[in-house]
Symmetry: C2
DNA sequence: AAGGAACGAGAGCGGTGCTCTTGACAAGGG
DNA sequence: CCCTTGTCAAGAGCACCGCTCTCGTTCCTT
């Protein structure tokens, strides 16, 4: 159950103070996250910076994991918003431009917020199971991809490759369900290529951020753009 | 400087005992890693299981980070050996089969050793900088890819796409240096497609292991094989 | 105005990585 | 053969961690 003050406007002074302090705790935790990473996030350090005692934090977040969950949700929302904004800035019929803008936005966001990226797309925190609250925000960025795929295939602007290999039945049904869940019409082969490109996109960002490109690719900007073009080709976006 | 007993055979009983204990510590730490993950790896717990006191461990590893480094090197070696074995089991001229076998081997290794995979390909440990000892083992698996690319292009068994887009100059030189460092001859465009496929491969493994495919792809086996085929096509391997 | 809920402070528990000192013991040279 | 030298495990201790509990206080509701 979400905190009531997020849905209704807080009335009492106490509720206002609570909402404000909750925000301050998250902000401080986020800034600590940017410096020390998720494993090094310390409740005591956050409390210290806020001039309060560590036990007082437990009035606002029942555990360190719950605080992490809040940060995860914020991170998913943040990257989702970045993707949506980049996508919305491109003409709707320009599927190619939309995918490239979205890809670039995701990489930029990740480079600007590496620890938040690692928090949601990196190694899972052991012993921590993401609660259901996170799956909604988590789908926000992928939905951008799926919408542009749906738009492009509705307009007939997705070129199918010449010798199309058959999609395994189980994969086809997985992808059909995925599109149906989102209320979108995307032919499974096109969605398959989209998911592959999406996977490669995040693979590239992870490789870059996690140091696998050191001594391999120096000009990561040029490489990413080049790769993004190849992935757009692979999807068949015009 | 590496410990002397790893290069020369230990003579004295003391040196033998030291080598044995070092091995036991690493083994125990690895098994703890598989249960709690890297952030939860505790020197004290390892010492406890070995029936010794925590401070005694510092005779063998100067810090927790050094122990982690040893585990990282072992993990790189382990995945590299798995890739090499899978590659070697396929006829040398069968570039397509070699890439698929290598990809499957990497995924299998990752699924069997998820925490070790996360250790090397997941979020970096904050405040921990990988020392130079790790770069050698780290290149072992990618070298498998590069060797099969070199073999395939030497045999003229890499089909170039019809409308080849130009490679940015900086990327071209990065890739040329990469091949030259390995002492291999791979045309930059082919290597570019190889690195892209490699990136996508690890992106897929990371997505699967880190939970991004939950509620998206159910039949991950079929999906991975399908994707591996598309990546082999993308490289142009015959 | 009164009762109860929410709050911050503090002490404390068991855990962590790491340092330093101490005493036992083995290795090797005189 | 003895004795110096270096290695070793053990223990105490430091500063930190997440978390729990208690205790007054403050605020809100009835």
């Amino acid at each position: 159950m979400p905190d009531p003050e997020s849905t209704s406007a807080p009335r009492t002074a106490r509720a206002i103070a609570r909402a404000e302090l909750t925000r301050q705790i998250k902000d401080t935790a986020r800034s600590h996250l940017a410096e020390t990473g998720a494993p090094g996030l310390s409740l005591r350090a956050v409390a210290r910076e806020l001039g309060m005692v560590s036990s007082a934090l437990y009035r606002y977040f029942p555990s360190r994991d719950e605080l992490l969950t809040a940060l995860i949700i914020d991170a998913y929302d943040s990257v989702g918003a970045a993707a949506e904004a980049a996508d919305a800035a491109v003409r709707r019929s320009d599927g190619r431009g939309r995918f490239r803008a979205t890809g670039r936005a995701i990489r930029s966001w990740a480079r600007a917020n590496p620890h938040e990226y690692a928090l949601v797309y990196g190694s899972p925190v052991p012993g921590y199971a993401a609660p259901e609250d996170t799956i909604g925000p988590a789908t926000r960025a992928p939905l951008v991809l799926m919408r542009l795929l749906a738009d492009a295939s509705a307009a007939g602007r997705v070129t199918e490759p010449d010798h199309q290999p058959g999609l395994p039945a189980s994969v086809r049904s997985d992808l059909a369900r995925l599109a149906a869940d989102a209320g979108l019409e995307i032919p499974p082969p096109a969605l398959a290529r989209g998911v592959l490109a999406w996977t490669a996109l995040f693979g590239a960002v992870s490789f870059e951020l996690f140091g696998q490109f050191v001594n391999v690719i120096d000009d990561t900007d040029a490489w990413f753009d080049h790769q993004l073009d190849r992935l757009t080709d692979l999807i068949g976006l015009q």
